[in-house]
């Protein structure tokens, strides 16, 4: 079980440029992995592939023991819906929906909006947004919006949380708050967290560290 990559690579463009190559790794349930590397080293690309948003051009990826290429589109959508949580550098909330509705989006897709509503409210409360659940994104600060996005990623209690520089657009106070939330999500929900970050301090909080250099893993 877990996310297992073997010889994973990605080439783009024509002529093909390899931006990721020979990635072999496995992330077990409950791990907290930091993914570091310079800008352009391929962190986002790897996270997108692990999160089934992007397809590898070579190698294999096993999701909970099953080859990802054998998933139908519907199964991939369901996997993202129930097993994965994404947090992006920019929070990407839907502007027409209030905080609580944004958090409940994955649950609504799964047909569990009512059932997961208490959890959604609890998450918002724990993230210091208890009184702001009914606010629209534009009435929230950047840090608050990012916390809403994290609550959204956690509302389905996923096994994997993929976070792509979630603190990148935040000041240090907000960044630390977000990191605390991720750590708590990891310990309380037991989700495996893969965190792409530039910040060595945040990377040090992880139980394991993966370092990318020009699309290749170094010093696992």
């Amino acid at each position: 079980m877990g996310l297992e990559a073997e010889g994973l690579g990605k080439s783009v463009g024509d002529p093909a440029v390899r931006i990721l190559g020979g990635i072999t790794l496995s992330v077990e349930r409950g791990e907290f992995v930091a993914l570091t590397g310079r800008s352009g080293s391929g962190k986002s690309t790897l996270l997108h592939i692990l999160g089934t948003l992007d397809r590898p051009s070579e190698g294999s990826l096993r999701l909970d023991g099953r080859e990802s290429s054998s998933f139908s589109p519907a199964e991939l959508d369901a996997f993202r819906n129930r097993r994965l949580g994404f947090v992006f550098q920019f929070h990407y909330l839907i502007q027409e929906l209030d905080a609580l509705e944004n958090v409940l989006l994955p649950a609504r897709r799964a047909g569990e909006a009512a059932r997961r509503r208490p959890l959604a409210e609890e998450l918002l409360g724990r993230f210091g947004l208890g009184g702001k659940a009914r606010r629209l994104p534009r009435q929230l600060s950047g840090g608050e919006q990012q916390r809403v996005a994290i609550a959204r990623a956690l509302v389905m209690q996923p096994q994997y949380l993929l976070a792509d520089e979630p603190t990148g657009a935040l000041d240090s106070a907000n960044g630390t708050a977000v990191m605390d939330i991720l750590k708590e999500a990891h310990s309380r929900l037991g989700a495996a967290v893969i965190l792409a970050t530039h910040d060595p301090e945040f990377a040090a909080m992880a139980s394991r560290r993966l370092h990318l250099v020009d699309g290749v893993l170094r010093g696992t």
Binding site: H48, L53, F79, R80, N81, R82, E96
Partner: protein, 385 residues
């Protein structure tokens, strides 16, 4: 996805309103136009069917007389499709009174029979048709005014050949149709005497129980020979052929309005798709399917379409009711009520509604499809850059 679709629509009230207005106007315009055209058609058919006979059986030669009218009478009386008959003898005539002279048609008939064949009695403006006897006339409005006749007037009626006789005006009527209002009806016997052709019958007006079977019945009469039978449809063939073009006019006009409205919807939704690319990518990353994204945009079109059609039907209905109150005085269209005849048949609303709804869906389909085809990864990568 309906919930989010509604939020999107409400977040851009001006654009949504414009799209809605397009559908609304298309539907309403169609309903009002159809109401006018169909109302006019119904009015005309009603006039044609009820103001004259379903089938007229005439002599084979123009102006001749029917051979053995008695045999025809018995045959028609035994025919189960026939509701009523009226033997007639007509001739062009001049009506003169004092200095005024007017030409028209003198039509001898069995007054009671005529009233059963046509609806003429209901157009009486003075006196009574049924009471016509001896040398009495029921004169159409046009002819009466040209000859200066009023109820009770005495008038000299002259026919070709020089025969003339004084009649008394016992009834006046007005159908609104010039040709019909230039006729003077008299009892058959009086006309036969005036023309010096006792017992002669020029034609027999027949009313069928079901006017739509007139064509077939006329053909059956013709097969019997010795006569020329024509249905009301044949007699008004040119008029009826214009009805056929009318459906085309209605749907062309609806199509034109909806094309414009449809382009509006397509444009605005295309813009929405572009603006909401990030939302689409996020939804997909959260596990929403292509079909969900498709539904998200289709709902927007469907909601606009449904709301537009509903309001459009209301507006069309209101317009129809208003048009009904428009007075059009002496125009033939206004005969009877003196107002525009506007149909508000359910069929019009159904046609307009379905067509407008379909147009809204079709114009939504393209943007929705393009939204569903977007690759989330490309948007997310572009957004992060």
């Amino acid at each position: 996805m309906l919930r989010l679709a509604l939020r999107y629509l409400l977040a851009r009230p001006r654009q949504s309103l414009l799209m809605l207005l397009g559908v609304l106007l298309g539907t309403a315009a169609f309903i009002a136009l159809s109401g006018l055209l169909l109302g006019f058609k119904e009015y005309l058919v009603d006039q044609l069917v009820n103001n004259s006979a379903s089938v007229i059986i005439s002599a084979p030669r123009e102006g001749g007389t029917l051979r053995d009218p008695g045999a025809w009478g018995r045959r028609l009386a035994a025919d189960p499709l026939v509701a009523a008959t009226c033997p007639q003898l007509g001739a062009p005539a001049l009506l003169s009174r004092g200095g005024a002279t007017a030409s028209g048609v003198l039509l001898g008939c069995d007054p009671a029979g005529l009233l059963r064949v046509t609806r003429l009695a209901s157009y009486a403006t003075a006196g009574s048709f049924a009471a016509l006897r001896g040398r009495e006339l029921a004169v159409g409005d046009s002819l009466a005014s040209r000859a200066g006749l009023t109820l009770g007037s005495r008038v000299r009626v002259s026919c070709a050949g020089g025969a003339s006789e004084t009649f008394r005006v016992a009834a006046l009527f007005k159908t609104g149709v010039e040709r019909a209002d230039s006729v003077a009806y008299a009892p058959l016997g009086a006309v036969q005497a005036l023309l010096g052709r006792p017992g002669a019958v020029g034609d027999i007006a027949v009313r069928l129980k079901d006017y739509t079977r007139a064509d077939g019945e006329a053909r059956a009469f013709n097969r019997l020979g010795g006569c020329r039978a024509e249905s009301w449809e044949r007699r008004n063939a040119t008029l009826i052929s214009t009805f056929k073009a009318e459906d085309m006019v209605r749907f062309l006009s609806l199509g034109a309005v909806l094309l414009v409205a449809g382009f509006g919807i397509t444009n605005v939704l295309h813009m929405t798709v572009v603006q909401k690319r990030m939302d689409i990518a996020i939804l997909r990353s959260l596990g929403y399917r292509r079909g969900d994204i498709l539904a998200l945009f289709l709902w927007q079109g469907l909601v606009l379409g449904l709301a537009g059609v509903a309001l459009g039907c209301l507006a069309g209905w209101g317009a129809g009711l208003y048009l009904r109150t428009v007075s059009i005085g002496g125009n033939p269209m206004g005969a009877g009520t003196g107002h525009l005849a506007v149909s508000l048949a359910p069929r019009i609303f159904l046609e307009g509604g379905l067509f407008a709804l379909a147009a809204a869906c079709v114009s939504t389909a393209l943007p929705a499809w393009s939204a569903a085809r977007l690759e989330p990864i490309e948007i997310i990568r572009a957004g992060a850059a």
